[in-house]
Symmetry: D2
């Protein structure tokens, strides 16, 4: 049961760096492609399972299945549940006293009408699941709102039929992303939206830049990691341009960090390797 199992679906630079880092420290790494390997619930070949599956749902299943065998998972299924669904993330953050954008959950057509009338425009509409900004819509008027509603009503998945109607924070087309590993903050960047795209996601052309960490951002990030019980997470923060207030927006339980490494020069994979080795020595 010695060594580390790395579970993955699409191996990226992040995973390659981790594997190299672990192996260079003498750690045996077993690779498990969760698309080609059936996972028996309650079976595990190592004490530690590093869950690096891009599909959030598959990542969650991978973690739960290894925990059934008693493995320590990074991140745990508890963290992945909370980070994998934005309604659960926002609710947990609020429960822990962390400031988030005002958010209303809409699960039917009548409540959609009410939410539209009550919420100041523009507001952000998004489903609780999804990555890279997909389906996230800025709603300014009734026509856009109805188009979004009609489209989402046709989805098979109840998660995609559910709406998070969220306060639009005037952040100047910018957000802050930090990475936290084992209760310590690794660094921070900003992402800035580009051209006629208001979303900051790198997949949508968003540009990254390193920023200096201040105490407030660091504290908020650590509280978020604690709230979701995350060993290795990234955190998205919005800063209101006018008031300077910070809002915790999303937490990612299987963080990508290629762009973060390029922008900051920080070797995130190495930090994670160090943490895993410290866990192995316990």
């Amino acid at each position: 049961m010695m060594g580390v199992e790395l579970l993955y679906d699409t191996p990226r630079l992040e995973e390659k760096l981790m594997i190299e880092g672990l192996r260079s420290m003498g750690v045996t790494v077993t690779l498990t492609n969760v698309n080609t390997t059936p996972l028996l619930i309650g079976e595990a070949s190592t004490d530690i399972a590093l869950v690096r599956v891009m599909s959030m749902q598959k990542a969650l299943y991978s973690a739960a299945i290894r925990e059934a065998a008693g493995s320590k998972t990074i991140n745990s299924s508890t963290t992945l549940v909370l980070c994998g669904d934005k309604i659960l993330t926002l609710s947990r953050l609020m429960a822990m006293g962390i400031k988030v954008p005002r958010s209303m959950v809409v699960m039917g057509t009548e409540s959609a009408e009410i939410a539209f009338r009550q919420f100041p425009k523009p507001f952000v509409d998004k489903p609780p699941i999804g990555s890279w900004g997909r389906l996230v819509t800025l709603v300014n008027d009734a026509a856009t709102w109805r188009s979004v509603l009609e489209h989402r009503q046709m989805m098979q998945s109840q998660q995609l039929r559910t709406h998070i109607v969220q306060e639009y924070i005037k952040s100047g087309g910018r957000d802050i992303r930090t990475i936290v590993i084992a209760g310590e903050i690794v660094g921070a960047i900003t992402r800035k939206s580009v051209g006629d795209e208001w979303r900051t996601n790198v997949a949508l052309g968003g540009k990254t830049e390193p920023i200096r960490l201040n105490g407030e951002i660091a504290e908020l990030s650590l509280k978020a990691a604690e709230a979701v019980n995350g060993d290795c997470i990234s955190v998205d923060i919005l800063e209101d341009m006018n008031t300077g207030e910070l809002y915790l927006n999303e937490v990612n339980g299987v963080p990508e960090f290629k762009g973060f490494m390029e922008a900051t020069g920080i070797n995130v994979a190495n930090e994670l390797v160090k943490y895993i080795i410290s866990v192995m020595k316990r």
Copy 2:
């Protein structure tokens, strides 16, 4: 913040009995239809939220949103996460040392081939979500397996594209259902499949009968409730006809109990009301 909020989507007999029961005890009950009322994350009008939403995903969101405001939820979002997805249920039960049918998780076409070759036939195939036995298929041969795989590959939801390949327990077309409230077992029934339908679900014609509780069934049920941290759950147990061994199969976090009440004469709603009132007095 006094009183109880009952969150629902489709009011059934169960909900009506609870409302009557609570009101007859002088408790103020606020009704919230989650389809017609937008839910603001972090807002709650009562200290206790009774989550009786039939849609599992909506039930989970309702609980999480009320917990963000500090409400005690019955059941909690933690319980609803674990019960709402059969992979998470089985994994948690195993992690807690509870015997479940041998279960393999398949998340891709290659692993589907391997699982089919490895698993003794017939086996049960089901997606991790769903109620009333829907999509649960007994797989005997390659032709059935491929038909199921091809159909599920066309689903939008990753949950529905995921397979639980499960040992078929020879239980004689019968299973045992118990209800546990606040760490005490309320009673037990069996459900028996009817005609050419092998599934025992009442929605598929399954017939219910009360049974006498034995210590083993009671103990298993209580352990299951503890494993998912459930205040009010129902538990499905399979008994191997030949060996007499018991297997915990599913746990329901928003239990229906109309059929259970009819079969046993036990007033389940009343038990739940008593528990809620005891919580209010804490």
Copy 3:
């Protein structure tokens, strides 16, 4: 084989009036609910099949199946194919020299970008299938366009993933609907959009009013009926407020006419009955 078979799924006022009308003329009417009756290809109990199935796909299948047995269908599967998909309708109308709004078909993400850059804004975006204005979106800016694209990319059906990008005709929130039976125009109404809804569909609150037929509208309607070879159709026409030019926009092969009858006082069902009886006498 005497008599008329009326095929339906959801019986509405229209169907009731037809049945009464036919029976009052001594015609035997057989009712077939296509949801509860399996249809054997090549079997028919009557010489004439009146296809009044609300689901366009089911209507098409019903007609084709009865034609396989040699029945005369009203409307024919040829008409229903052409009317059931807006790309096929527009293409046929153009092929027949009828003026339609300028329309571009987009079947991939790259072509979506090109269409957006080329087309004057606002433009109308709609999928080729669908009723009551559903999913029809007025696109003004890149943000709306991307939201629509991202949503439609997640649909299972290739028809719903296909876009018709269409010139927005400045018709003053009004369109004209005519009904044509057996090559003769029955009458005309206008539909006007209401409040903050730009679409004129009655299902979205649109208000109807009778209008006097002019020669141009009548001629255009008859040409449309001829183009799709329709025995009984309704036609949607847009009139440019500035230029007065008419554009044929949609043709419906299973027309609803309750609102039309209320607005005009014309007994449409009766016209259809007369036509059916004339066909029976041939």
Copy 4:
């Protein structure tokens, strides 16, 4: 307007051979990728459009759009409509007096029950759309039937929710495929299913072999081509092993013929090129 436009999405060997063949005869070939090029309804750059789009729905749209501009399309939208949906194919073939397997169309759960009781087992169940044998299921018992029904009920597309319940022709795991171009038969092969897979599709491992044409097969193929008005089609025929009777099963309007060329040595692309050139000379 001289020359030929070849519309495609995924270029295969077939398309490359056609392009080479046409160019070697001095024909100018314009290539249009329908995924990257928006298609303006009513616009065309050539007199002849060769529709070689793998997606049946996109193929149909491509043909209709070019016909709106007056182009001759191979195949025409009429042919592609009839071949793109198996209910329309079977209905048209029957209407033209061609023998097909007995087929019942099921569009609701009640009719599904009736069809199951009435039809001899095993029967074939398939949706009206789809290629390479996908979702085609041999139904032997109630359990398989219910599993298929439950899965298909969850599909978004009405076409996928519709069932063709079809007589299982005892053809010895073998079918016959012919190709017809311009009213002349090009050749014939058989496809034989392999291993535990009963379906004959090459995509599922089916093995091809050339066969000698007999008059009956040739005549049936030509009648099928005429029934769907196809310029270039492939035809699937089932032969009952016991009675020797032939059944027309499917017609493909965008035929693949790589395997056919390998098995027979016949240069199908060349035959098509010759036909196109003859059309150009008219």
